[in-house]
Amino acid sequence: MEVQLRDPNTVMKLSKLGSFHQSKLSFLRSFLKEFKDWDFKRDLFDLDENGFGKAIYSFKKNKRTYSLVSFANKISDTERSDRVIATKWDAAFVLYDGIPTKQDIERLSENVPKQEVGRVSYKELTLSRANKSVRIFDHVIENLSNGKQPDKNILSKVGYLYRTTAVYGSGKFGLADRFRIKNREEIYGPFRLEMMLVYLTRQFTFDQVNHVAKYKNPRQAVELDKNICRNLGIGNSTGLGMAPFIVNHPTLLNNWILARETALKKIREIKHVKNKDTDLFLYCLKKSLKNVISWNTDSEFQKNKIKDLLNDLNKLIDYLKNFNFSQEYAFNKIYRWAEEKLKDECLEYLVSMMMEPYDDIINPLINTMSSEEEKFFNIPTNRTIFELREILEKNYSDILKINFKKKESNQNFWFISKNKEEPRLANRYEENGSDLEQPLAIARDIKKLHERVLIEKNSLKIGKFLIENNDLRHVVRRAFIVEKFPYSEIQDNTIGSNLMPIDMLRLKLSFFGALKFDPKSDKWLRICMFQGAPLPTDLKKFDDYWVYNSLN
């Protein structure tokens, strides 16, 4: 039996993309799997009694070494901010390509804490900063220094000691361009080095609290229990900066979604599901419930989604109680039932769970999730208007139905803030600046393009069409990309009044492998990464299902 890939017109709706969950394809899981047999080492730990100073951690295999250089700084509570406008952070990090020399460390110490205002070099790969969760950090130190472990209930409400507020890579602020490193096999999956930085940062946070507690009370202090460490992740505070990324990298977006859709298709095509695979699927599903139950948020939007998810998960578990897994195409049958009975949040949760038993399907897909974007940049100008119109009508059918004459269809515009050079969203009818709008209103511009194409001769070549229509060149390029990459476009209006920008963030963060999305508004959210993950010293005893082993 052949199952069709799901229709991009369904999958690429923002409400659907905003319901995605972590899976076996997620980057932090594939990163750990790739680096599980690398040698981990703490090369330097030079902190003062208050935990300020520098530390270096490394992963090494054969002749390759990656080193995290960490700088912990003293800042006042009034200076601490997760917003991108901040200029000081509790700690700053950079991932160095190799083993840094003294001169490198000196250079980095002058630049890394300054983040965007500093400058790094092609020897550095990723850059980040993080702030303490003050209430958790102080609570942990207080208890450890008195010889006690911290209260797990308090820890579980937050889930981390530090949260990063940005992680930069690929040529930003002087970091190495991707072309310099893209042929390294260990980083074929996307965002591998960003994941490495975050993972090693997590270890730094544990070492730092142990160190400070010990200085505070050398006689009584104990170290943070390893199980507690394992159940703490790294938080992340994410705003709109991430949203345009998925519009600006269409082939990359396609490859992420296509990998997920291909996995689902292949799993639905399995005729006989083996008992061990059934058991593993059910095990992961049941164990994962802890992650949903312990999902704390103040957001009414997210609370409702979690409530729906839990209701639907109960329905799913009831359905599976009497489900006969020995019937043919069992997973397809479950999927078809879920598609009919469950909301998107739970349906996409199920898709993630169904991947768990199938390394043989998932592992080859992980290496297809990067993209050589430059290869698809040129517009095929020898194609005709007839072909372009067919592409538009086939691939943007819902978008072409949007009425952009309505005010609400045009309500927002995306712009780059002059202060921080970061993307922002504003109301076109209330704020100035829409004349400097970024090219992210793809639906509106595609509709405009379609209107112009309709009045041209079918035989006209695209090269000639562009002479008079270069104002729409950016979407002509996209149309020819979507022809080859059907999951490359969000099939929604990204400037409409009902836009939920956090749907765009959630899509990306789910591919990162984030848990516990906690929206703080429609424009920013907090998440947790690596909660439950093995510690670097335990990586060689790697368990691929660590994500469901969290105690929280």
Binding site: G171, K172, F179, N378, I379, N382, G463, D471, V475, R477
Partner: protein, 203 residues
């Protein structure tokens, strides 16, 4: 050192700020990135061109032909280049193209380099006395690699080169003969067992 990613993004934004459409701004970003990757002074030339662009007028050509001449004001290298790349599959048939009086000719170079990749042919480009061989957008060979600003070219001549070998048949035979020294002479036994295909194909 500025990274290629920074160059691409910043040039794209600067080009939009100069009044080019987002689509053309994307082209300029990619082109300057390419020039800098090949060690040519893209940012320097673009920066100077944008200063002139505010003060002077430039000819904006639409359809490119075998001979192109702008008598009063120089061609805009960006509009010329955009149309050149859009029309390169047709222009290829003309083999030789001449462009007289074009501003900042280095800014046209990456369009031609990318056209070389699109049509699958090398392009030989002469900007006045400076020569460039554009190899399928993989590399650029030149007799002129100074990091200077060239504000104008009186004449660019461009030739689409046929895909010919750079060596004679005799030279090929000589090198091929040497390569044969790595082959094993097959015995009857090896002929029967070495390939793995069936010995009878009539089943």
């Amino acid at each position: 050192m500025r990274t290629l990613s920074e160059i691409d993004t910043t040039v794209k934004r600067a080009s939009k700020a100069m009044g080019f459409s987002w689509g053309i701004a994307e082209e300029i970003g990619k082109n300057i990135r390419l020039l800098e990757l090949f060690g040519l002074p893209g940012v320097k030339n673009l920066n100077q061109y944008f200063k002139d662009y505010k003060r002077k007028q430039f000819q904006k050509i639409s359809l490119i032909s075998k001979l192109n001449e702008s008598i009063k004001i120089p061609y805009c290298p960006i509009i010329f280049g955009t149309n050149f790349i859009d029309q390169c599959t047709i222009l290829e048939e003309s083999i030789d193209i001449e462009i007289k009086n074009i501003a900042y000719p280095l800014l046209f170079l990456p369009f031609a380099s990318r056209a070389s990749e699109i049509v699958g042919k090398r392009i030989f480009l002469k900007i006045d006395e400076k020569e460039y061989l554009l190899n399928f957008n993989l590399s650029i060979l030149s007799n002129h690699l100074n990091s200077i600003i060239n504000e104008n070219a009186k004449l660019i001549s461009l030739k689409f080169l046929d895909n010919n070998n750079s060596f004679t048949d005799n030279e090929w035979q000589e090198i091929y003969k040497l390569s044969e020294d790595t082959f094993v002479e097959e015995t009857d036994s090896l002929k029967q067992t070495g390939a793995g295909a069936g010995l009878t194909d009539n089943d």
